[in-house]
């Protein structure tokens, strides 16, 4: 079978799935998605959609039978069925094994630590007493996290002092979910490095992006990151090491902290294209989505060097906005010819929902950051009541 005849199955038809498909279609691939929503962002561009929930084992098996390679756009999937399918000989990238380790933040960090990768100090906790003990050791503020299922700040709680331990414990499931604590990192910058591994083991590492979060959700990615050359090399090197540890095929995102002393600690690994990698669509010759498609179909990887300074800003549903999404201001934003808007096609806007993003390119990072700020302020997603 030639590479281009491979049928691709994607679990999840959100914006990441959509952007994968847009790249897959340039190469003429046949794509099936699995998503419970009939109007998910991918619905109109996939060849076929299986309407089913993400833990529907039967539906996932049906998809596996129809495609040559299966992938996913987010990590909160029933990994048991993936392992089962993998054992039966179906191809899933990144592998179910690497997904399983990464899904659990505690296991992920243990794996990284065992491979001599620096991470913030952490501990598994099972009770309020455990958290109190950890507090004595790590001091405050201290992070409490659910080991599984968190995203965009959900599943995280900053414990400011011993008095708020009870509340944090209550907020994160009251003991129903596995928990861990992490020493709070006095950070200078948050950065992320995207990397991809081909089927033959080839690894490509993207430039370092600098991330700015707002209310625990990614707001902005600036590339290149304003860090020292030494830090940049170290970060890219660490991303490379992470790829070797998980030996997964496909795109990974490695989120990192740069400390006040210019040390780098790994915060989290995601086994998929990532919000902080959207800049690659305009900023690099090979976007993270195309790279992922190349990797999982066995094609060699493309060039990932930065073509010019690039900034990405998320378009997120504002507080108070809900209902059918209407976009205002795109005509204003587009008056600057170096701004590009991506709209995911979600029918409804909701507070904190990722609705799209803006990419700006230019000659200097300063200029691009300013233009992106202007664009971000001009575009509005309004909920039609």
């Amino acid at each position: 079978m030639d590479n281009l005849s491979k049928k691709i199955g994607i679990i999840g038809g959100g914006q990441l799935g959509k952007m994968m498909i847009l790249e897959a279609k340039r190469l003429g691939f046949y794509v099936i998605t699995l998503d419970p929503s009939e109007s998910c962002p991918s619905h109109s561009i996939s060849d076929k959609q299986i309407l089913a929930s993400f833990d529907d084992k039967k539906a996932i098996r049906t998809m596996a039978e129809k495609v040559d390679v299966m992938t996913y756009e987010f990590e909160h999937i029933n990994v048991d069925i993936l392992k089962e399918l993998e054992n039966e000989g179906y191809t899933i990238y990144p592998t179910a094994k690497s997904l399983e380790i990464i899904q659990n933040k505690y296991n992920q960090k243990v794996t990284l630590l065992n491979n001599n990768i620096a991470v913030p100090e952490f501990q598994s906790v099972k009770s309020i007493e455990d958290i109190q003990k950890a507090g004595h050791q790590f001091s405050y503020p201290m992070m409490l996290k659910t080991c599984t299922g968190g995203y965009d700040g959900k599943g995280n709680y900053v414990i400011e002092n011993e008095e708020s331990i009870k509340e944090s414990y209550k907020q994160l499931g009251n003991g129903t979910l596995p928990l861990m604590v992490e020493k709070f990192v006095d950070l200078k910058k948050e950065i992320s490095v995207l990397a991809c591994r081909g089927i033959d083991g080839e690894i490509s590492v993207y430039p370092v992006g600098e991330n700015i979060h707002k209310d625990s959700i990614l707001d902005e990615t600036r590339v290149p990151a304003s860090i020292s050359m030494e830090c940049t090399e170290k970060a890219m090197d660490m991303a490379h090491q992470v790829m070797e540890i998980f030996s997964g095929v496909g795109m990974f995102c490695v989120e990192m902290f740069v400390t006040q002393d210019d040390d780098i600690l790994i915060n989290e690994v995601a086994p998929r294209p990532h919000n902080s990698g959207h800049y690659t669509i305009e900023g690099c010759f090979t976007s993270q989505f195309e790279q992922h498609i190349r990797a999982i179909t066995g094609l060699p990887l493309g060039d990932v060097s930065l073509r010019c300074p690039t900034v990405m800003r998320n378009i997120i549903g504002e507080n108070g906005e809900s209902g059918k999404a209407n976009y205002e201001g795109i005509d204003k934003v587009y008056k600057d010819g170096n701004v590009k808007v991506h709209i995911y096609g979600k029918e409804e806007v909701r507070p904190k929902r990722k609705m799209g993003h803006i990419t700006v390119i230019g000659r200097t990072l300063d200029e691009v950051v300013k233009k992106a700020e202007t664009a971000k302020n001009e575009i509005k997603v309004v909920g039609e009541k």
Copy 2:
């Protein structure tokens, strides 16, 4: 209505339609295509396809009623229905009026000439005697062309001498089609300039591309064109003038000849994105397809400056190849990280059929031309019998 809520209708679901949709989808547009083939390149990515032939007036009307703006990916369409719809208030870009003039090569050239744009000497001919007379005036070789319906060399005939006039007349319809002759141009280069006009009259002109044809079909586009700075400015200026003449909204391609004396003559205008503009996907921030979508939906135009030297090579069905298309060598081609392949998704390969294209970027044009040549030789479309 906000710009992004506009529904787009495209007549034609071939590769140009497909590439328009891939860009439209990044902005979340709803797209309907009209194409007689169920498996046309656009079929899996448009929201809806109307299965009908391109001269099916009723079907075109049905589409007009369902969308806010209608466009087309090729110019051989029944213009009467478009004019009728336009008169009733439906929006069609480029306008039916500009399409009507451009459809007829003779009228197109008269219009250009009346606006002081240099074109090769030409004449309308109705009979063998007319062609003979023109031959005395223009000398040989001389071009005979059908005024309507030609593409990729079809509808053109190079008359080498007076003896071959009868054969040329027979080959081009034996008097059933309107004909014209053109003085043969002793050309140094063939170039083309893409340009776009926004709804508010804003005009953006792309860099000049140098085109190399093989068997009358475009084989290669090199950007920037290897012509003098003066020629480049003149070509871009002429493209700008053409945009003002046809006052169309959307993308146009202006094909030109550079003579041995560095004069520029306009060969042909196409009221749509063009094969020689595929390089813009990787070579410019705003591709010709995105620009077209921006223009017809009333959005401001994007930046069109060249990001780096870029070469496009067509992937065309070779003589003897027919049947279900299989692609060989893409894994070899992709070993160079700066090569990108686009596969249109046509089920069957046929001799001279455009199946896809290759784009290569790099630091110098020389390097890129070489890499593109290597890639072109490595990829094969094989027809499965």
